[in-house]
């Protein structure tokens, strides 16, 4: 009688599963009960104001920090007790500073990649061959220069290259494009798309660049006040905030702007009232920026609902 269930991506066990995560420094709770899931092949962006705990969260997931409370599973294992085979499946993009200053990018990629040789699997060649990787991140021109002479942008490309050299199933990036110019940023976004398309890499990245979140994310999580206050695609989040659609038009040469809760109804009425004479009609939905600021503001004002705003369930 019952039709066989077709497994959907949502039914697969999450790659990252966090419940009730708390992190306390002294008497201050940086994380105050974070719940989050990241599913296979998803690109999830963690957004939040400075000091919201984005870096803390990602470092706990990387196994570099012990949480005060809560359960954390990454690729099915608690990162604190994970073994080296787990490390081989996880990529971490670090912000380089002055490490390996006298090495060249080619030597460093070659060196760090060689640790992954014993961890190659069927269908997952490890590591990515050095030349291929240098091409992928666009470091051809600087591959044999000493690292200390690289520009900031080149250095970040090297950081990304080192993070993905083991062809990770799951990649963590903490503010990967901080300090990038628009061109470098665009190229980086293309690189992330290529990674997820080719290898099905799951990506969790933090940023406070909303444009970046919008371009990359399958799903955006907003972290504020130590909790996830919103969870959904950029569109879903924008739709969530009512009263922010903006309608502009001109009538008899005069410009009008109106913030409408229900833009469709408003426009219908507007056109009905003025069958002729409405020009340059423009409806602008709330941008992710509006949404983000609204969510963070309402949360900081304390009138936010404490349960995370889940949008996935409403839409699907």
């Amino acid at each position: 009688m019952s039709t066989p269930e077709i497994p959907r991506p949502l039914d697969r066990p999450p790659v990252v599963r966090v419940r009730g995560l708390r992190m306390r420094y002294g008497d201050h709770d940086v994380l105050d009960g974070v719940d989050l899931d990241v599913r296979a092949s998803e690109v999830v962006v963690l957004l939040g104001p400075n000091g919201a705990g984005k870096t803390t969260t990602i470092e706990i997931l990387e196994g570099f920090r012990r949480p005060s409370a809560g359960s954390v599973e990454v690729l099915g294992v608690d990162p604190l007790h994970a073994d080296e085979a787990w490390r081989a499946r996880v990529g971490v993009v670090l912000q380089s500073w002055r490490d390996h200053a006298r090495w060249t990018p080619r030597d460093l990629i070659d060196h760090l990649g060689s640790y992954y040789v014993p961890f190659a699997e069927d269908g997952r060649v490890r590591p990515i061959p050095t030349d291929e990787l240098i091409d992928m991140v666009g470091l051809e021109g600087a591959a044999d220069q000493r690292i200390i002479t690289l520009s900031g942008g080149q250095r970040r490309r090297l950081d990304v290259a080192v993070g993905i050299v083991g062809r990770p199933e799951l990649l963590f990036l903490d503010e990967p494009t901080a300090g990038f110019d628009p061109q470098a940023r665009r190229e980086f976004h293309e690189l992330v798309h290529r990674l997820t398309d080719l290898d099905g890499t799951t990506v969790l990245l933090t940023t406070h660049d909303l444009g970046e979140a919008e371009k990359l994310a399958d799903r955006i999580l907003i972290l504020a006040g130590g909790r996830i206050v919103a969870d959904g695609s950029a569109d879903e989040l924008a739709r969530r905030i009512r009263g922010t659609a903006e309608v502009r038009w001109t009538r008899d040469g005069e410009r009008f702007v109106h913030a409408a809760t229900d833009a469709t109804t408003f426009v219908r009425q507007l056109l009905a009232e003025h069958p002729a004479g409405i020009d340059d009609l423009e409806v602008r939905r709330a941008s992710l920026e509006d949404t983000y600021l609204e969510l963070v503001r309402s949360h900081l004002d304390g009138d936010a609902v404490h349960a995370p705003v889940s949008l996935v369930s409403e839409v699907s």
Binding site: E84, R87, L94, Q95, H100, W103, H111, L112, Y115, D174
Partner: protein, 290 residues
């Protein structure tokens, strides 16, 4: 699965040796490192040269003959302890350690790399001092293969016994600046009480006993045993050569020191994260501004 883990460990150790060698080669090409090797090596030779005519009272031995083995022991001890101490303190702040830790068995490889670099960096110094002494001072460097066998054994044991000390200091010091306080000063003090710079038989009893707890004294003692004629024993503590006890103490340091250093280094590595590196970077930046 365990075969695979073993393979990965061996792979990482091999990568670590290559890493250490690569860093050594990079260093050889840098004027900074060249200056270090040349000034240390030729400085030691100059010290011996200016005292070449000084004979030791009651013997036919000259000062270069007597001082060379102790000086070599001092060079080994100093390089082997200070090398890893500085490397660990510096490279956990600048992110080198963290970068390696992200790779599977990367910490393993990193540590082997530091050890390899430390040991290989000794070679230019030993070559300059030993080669120079052979040319400059008659009878200072033995030619007999039996004695050379002993020299190699003493050097290997001395290196392995002192290496964990360097790792332990590097893991314990809170910041790079403290390596001088917690690394350099104790080493110089230890060299002093271990008879590297001169006669230790005139020191207080309790200082002599303290010196015999550490590998430094025993390395120097074994080196003198290998380099000097039998009769030089009159300058040794208690007037006897103690080959067996020397090897035993050094071997004990190899075993106990390695276990202790492993614990300390693991503890240190666990505390590293991107945020810790960023913090060190910010601190360095503010210091620079000041």
């Amino acid at each position: 699965m365990s075969a695979r883990i073993n393979a990965a460990r061996i792979n990482a150790a091999r990568i670590g040796v290559r890493r250490g060698w690569h860093e050594f080669v990079i260093g050889l090409r840098s004027p900074q490192d060249q200056t270090f090797y040349l000034s240390m090596g030729f400085g030691a030779l100059a010290l011996l040269w200016f005292n070449r005519d000084e004979a030791l009272p009651g013997t036919t031995l000259t000062l270069p003959q007597v001082a060379l083995p102790s000086l070599l022991a001092g060079i080994v001890m100093f390089s082997i302890v200070i090398g890893p101490a500085y490397a660990l303190a510096l490279e956990r702040e600048d992110g080198t350690l963290l970068r390696s830790r992200v790779a599977p068995y990367g910490l393993h490889g990193y540590l082997v790399g530091v050890g390899t670099l430390t040991v290989v960096s000794l070679l230019p110094l030993l070559v300059i001092v030993l080669g120079g002494s052979a040319v400059l001072f008659d009878g200072a460097v033995p030619g007999d293969p039996g004695r050379w066998g002993l020299i190699v054994i003493a050097l290997l044991l001395g290196i392995l016994a002192n290496l964990p000390l360097g790792f332990a200091i590097g893991a314990l010091v809170p910041r790079i600046q403290q390596v001088t306080t917690w690394g350099m000063l104790p080493i110089v003090g230890l060299a002093w009480i271990s008879g590297i710079f001169g006669d230790m038989t005139r020191l207080w009893d309790w200082v002599q006993i303290l010196a015999q707890v550490f590998p430094m004294y025993w390395l120097a003692h074994l080196m003198r045993y290998a380099f000097l004629p039998e009769a030089a024993v009159t300058n040794e503590l208690y007037g006897v050569w103690r080959l067996g006890p020397g090897i035993a103490v050094l071997a004990a340091w190899v075993v106990v020191g390695s276990a202790l250093a492993t614990l300390l280094v693991r503890r240190m590595a666990r505390r590293q994260s991107g945020a810790a590196v960023a913090e060190a970077r910010d601190q360095a930046a503010t210091q620079y501004v000041r």
